[in-house]
């Protein structure tokens, strides 16, 4: 009997179905491949799109979205959702404009304050979700109303921000050959993404987030601090939303209560396009980054085309989105076909 124990080991040693890449990273690979393909197609049609200018703009113009999407990725990985981010961006912008413009606070101080407020707001929502056991959807929807409402109370009009420091920050860019400029905020976005990747895949917190998304009760039974993690996740999302707000206010040097309407949906879309499951537990921050660029690319393509009416614009955006998703599905499906259990549905 005992002689056969190693034998059993041998049996199991047969690497269970062998494949090109592990099903986990597959959506990411697919997303990347398709983005590359899409960009190539664009360039073929409009050679001008190859310029460093366009590439750099892609980063700069989507910086705030990219940043907020990183936070959103964590929320979605944990099996939740955060609808408040768009409003928080607007609120932060207005708050900064008021603090700097009216109260004459130095921008850096204002930044710190804004980040603190946004993070705290996120934490509060997380606490409500955990302790009141209420669906994230409603809690963050309330947050969405509140943040924009506060923005309106601060000002209904749009406030410009004139401050030497802002000007200098905006002038901070690295001119690429070919007229492109890698701006500060683009740098911030990339930095946040990298930080997100590390946080997600290289820390205990990250693992706990995935655990939560996988199965709350199991996670609890494995000793994951569910409450603390939930709160931390929404605090993080609040923080990135605040940071995105700062970036947006640098981007437009103004605070506007109607800014960033519907950004939450763009962010969620970017995350999901990036291959993260909305049900939580599976996905990649890197994928989100590509998802953001993908959306930016679609916008740029439309503008370059320049012949589309308002309605055709919408239709084409949808069509491109569809084409992209379907290709992604196809790729994943083709190489993810497994003979064994688990792929039941």
């Amino acid at each position: 009997m005992t002689t056969r124990i190693p034998d059993a080991g041998m049996l199991n040693a047969r690497p269970f179905n062998v494949r090109l890449f592990n099903a986990g990273t597959l959506p990411l690979v697919a997303t990347l491949a398709i983005f590359a393909l899409a960009y190539a197609v664009c360039v073929v049609q409009f050679p001008a799109m190859l310029s460093t200018r366009v590439a750099a703009n892609l980063l700069t113009d989507n910086a705030f979205l990219g940043i907020v999407a990183v936070g959103m990725t964590f929320v979605i990985l944990s099996g939740g959702i955060d609808l408040s981010v768009g409003s928080v961006i607007a609120f932060t912008g207005v708050l900064l404009a008021v603090l700097i413009g009216r109260a004459g606070v130095h921008p850096l101080v204002a930044f710190a304050l804004a980040l603190a407020v946004a993070t705290a707001g996120g934490a509060v929502m997380g606490a409500m979700i955990h302790h009141l056991e209420m669906p994230p959807f409603i809690v963050t929807l309330a947050g969405m109303f509140l943040a924009r409402g506060m923005a309106f109370v601060l000002t209904t009009d749009s406030l410009p921000v004139e401050h030497a420091f802002y000007a200098t920050l905006q002038q901070l860019y690295w001119r690429l050959p070919g007229g492109g400029r890698l701006t500060l905020i683009a740098g911030v976005m990339v930095a946040v993404t990298v930080a997100g990747i590390i946080l997600a895949h290289r820390t205990r917190f990250g693992a706990n987030v995935y655990a939560l998304g996988g199965n709350r009760t199991s996670a609890a039974l494995m000793g994951v601090p569910v409450g603390a993690t939930t709160i931390a996740v929404y605090a993080l999302s609040g923080f990135t939303a605040g940071l995105a707000g700062i970036v947006f206010s640098l981007y437009t040097s103004a605070g506007y209560p109607l800014a960033a309407v519907g950004v939450e949906l763009d962010a969620i879309a970017a995350v999901v396009i990036g291959g993260t499951l909305l049900t939580g537990g599976a996905g990649f921050v890197a994928g989100t980054f590509v998802g953001v660029l993908m959306q930016g690319l679609i916008q740029t393509y439309i503008v370059f085309d320049g012949t589309l009416s308002s309605w055709w614009t919408k239709i084409v955006i949808g069509a491109l989105l569809f084409g992209f998703i379907v290709q992604q599905r196809a790729l994943v499906w083709l190489s993810a076909r497994r003979p064994s259990a688990g792929s039941a549905t």
């Binding site: 009141l132 309330a142 999901v272 499951l277 239709i315 949808g318 989105l321 039941a344």
Partner: protein, 337 residues
């Protein structure tokens, strides 16, 4: 119903109705005439009627949305589908087509949209939120394409009647919503559909292995949602005697989802109650009407909304439920669940 489910249903209904009552009461305090209902040339007339009438479209959306959410999905496209169906109905009527044709085309368009969503979700296995996001963007474009961005106005009384007519004093939208709700409840509870939908929402793998035709059920719920959205779209267009492709149903998908969640359904799928979702829709509308009637400056609308939603949250949270149960127990009222 078996005692078990009966009491469980009651336990679910209580907090929601009390929330609704609370909001109505608050509005009444803000505006004494709130509960007055008079008859004005054959139509019931009063704030309460407004709540029902204005709440009808979202309630109708919520019916379809409930089924979709029960399967663990979500339909972001309902707002856009409203715009499409409204546009189709208006343009056809404006071309002098008979009501029947216009209605058929409009609802047909909705069903097609639902079918599209359903196939994306059930066959291509795309995550519902993205799948329907596609139509959310495209749909409004299509609607504007139909109306060329203009507001198509019409004067056809038969269509207008659907929006602002009245049967036995009740505004038409309310009647339609009521009938649809009744039909939907019968459809899911008097057949096995309801159980299948819930089973799929709770454990799709197990449902497949039990021999359910999961794909067909999924497609069916999205079609239902599309149909409801189309109907709501026609009502909204008829109400303002014109199809506003740019704004019809804008952001209503959020209200619909909120209504369902307020109704107690989980976005992860599973147990659902169409009636509770409709109560959810009424809660939302009561809130909006209350804010309008209260006379606060509009800058505060969102803050009020947020405050109210938070209150609802606390009232409906299981925690509150437990506390209530404890109090009930102490005061001798035993509530078995």
């Amino acid at each position: 119903m078996m005692p078990g489910t009966a009491t469980r249903a009651l336990a679910g209904a209580l907090p929601r109705f009390s929330v609704l009552a609370l909001i109505l009461l608050a509005s009444w305090l803000a505006f004494p005439g709130y509960f007055d209902v008079t008859v004005n040339d054959g139509r019931l007339y009063g704030s309460l009627i407004d709540v029902l009438n204005r709440g009808a479209p979202v309630a109708i959306l919520a019916i379809g949305m409930t089924l979709v959410i029960a399967t663990g999905g979500v339909d972001l496209s309902v707002g856009a589908v409203m715009a499409v169906s409204g546009a189709v109905a208006a343009t056809l009527i404006a071309d002098g087509q008979p009501l029947a044709v216009a209605l058929a085309a409009a609802l047909g368009a909705g069903v097609l949209c639902g079918l599209w969503n359903g196939i994306l979700v059930a066959v291509l296995d795309i995550q519902p939120i993205v799948a329907t996001l596609i139509l959310m963007v495209t749909g409004r474009g299509i609607a504007q394409l139909v109306t060329e961005g203009a507001i198509v106005t019409f004067v056809d009384e038969s269509l207008i009647f659907i929006g602002s007519g009245a049967v036995a004093g009740m505004p038409m939208p309310v009647v339609i919503a009521a009938v649809l709700a009744a039909a939907a409840v019968l459809l899911v509870r008097r057949t096995a559909l309801g159980m299948f939908i819930e089973a799929i929402g709770v454990n799709r793998r197990a449902s497949v292995q039990a021999g359910l035709n999961v794909r067909v059920v999924l497609i069916a719920v999205y079609v239902a949602s599309g149909f409801c959205a189309a109907l709501a779209g026609v009502i909204v267009a008829a109400d303002i005697r014109g199809a506003d492709a740019n704004n019809a149903g804008l952001w209503l998908e959020l209200d619909a989802i909120l209504a369902v969640v307020l109704g107690g359904a989980s976005l992860l799928g599973g147990r659902f109650s169409i009636l509770m979702s409709i109560v959810g829709a009424l809660i939302i509308q009561a809130m909006n009407t209350g804010i309008l009637i209260s006379g606060f400056p509009p800058e505060f609308n969102l803050i009020l909304k947020a405050a109210i939603v938070v209150v609802i949250l606390v009232l409906q949270s299981p925690q509150a439920g437990r506390i209530a149960a404890a109090i009930a127990a102490r005061t001798g009222i035993t509530r078995r669940r």
